[in-house]
Symmetry: C2
Subunit: 96 residues, 2 copies
DNA sequence: TGAATACTTGAGCAAGTATTCATATATCTA
DNA sequence: TAGATATATGAATACTTGCTCAAGTATTCA
């Protein structure tokens, strides 16, 4: 049945959150556990600013959660649907 | 483990295909079976041109398949991973 | 053959996005 | 308290995207 316009935009927002290589790479490292911004930036070989901007989007979409510890901020995945979508997409890409 | 850059872009492309309300609405009607461009456009209340442009993207991503019959072109879903991703995303949006 | 129908395509524009750079805020340490 | 560290944020820029409009191709039918 035709998806209602309002639901279609929410669903599009969810997939949009997963539609960028940088965000997917952030998710891939957070699958192993929480990590702070500097560590993520080091792993991805990107500036902390760029990573921070992307984390903001993921935070707003409630896909990651932030935990502040001193001056570090540790991020972790805040949604197991995301992990499922990520893994299912990856499966499709790797042997689809 | 950190997702390789090349795979991350492929995965992002897949999710990008699902990251637009119009494309999701097209997918939602094609879940019920094949449909031609004019019928899709009527259901979505959009121009055939706009729908055709989106179908092109979905075709290039191999998410839909086209069957020509006379001057009509019938589209159908070409990938059951897509249906799974769609349904899982929808579940998340509807009661997440 | 000529007109109508069904769809596709390219150009152009408005709106959105990801990154960089500079700056701001918060926290720790000497 | 001053300076260093960790992160966040705003503005600017380059790039991408979705639609419209006009024109093009293919097919049917009178």
């Amino acid at each position: 049945m035709l998806l209602k316009a309002s639901i279609s935009t929410h669903l599009a927002d969810l997939f949009s959150a997963l539609s960028d290589p940088t965000r997917l790479r952030i998710i891939s490292v957070l699958l192993e556990g929480e990590m702070n911004v500097g560590e993520i930036a080091t792993q991805l070989v990107m500036t902390e600013s760029a990573v921070s901007h992307q984390l903001r989007g993921l935070r707003q979409m409630k896909l990651v959660r932030a935990r502040k510890a001193g001056r570090q901020v540790y991020y972790s995945l805040d949604d197991d649907h995301v992990e499922k979508l990520y893994r299912m997409g990856l499966e499709h890409v790797e042997h689809g």
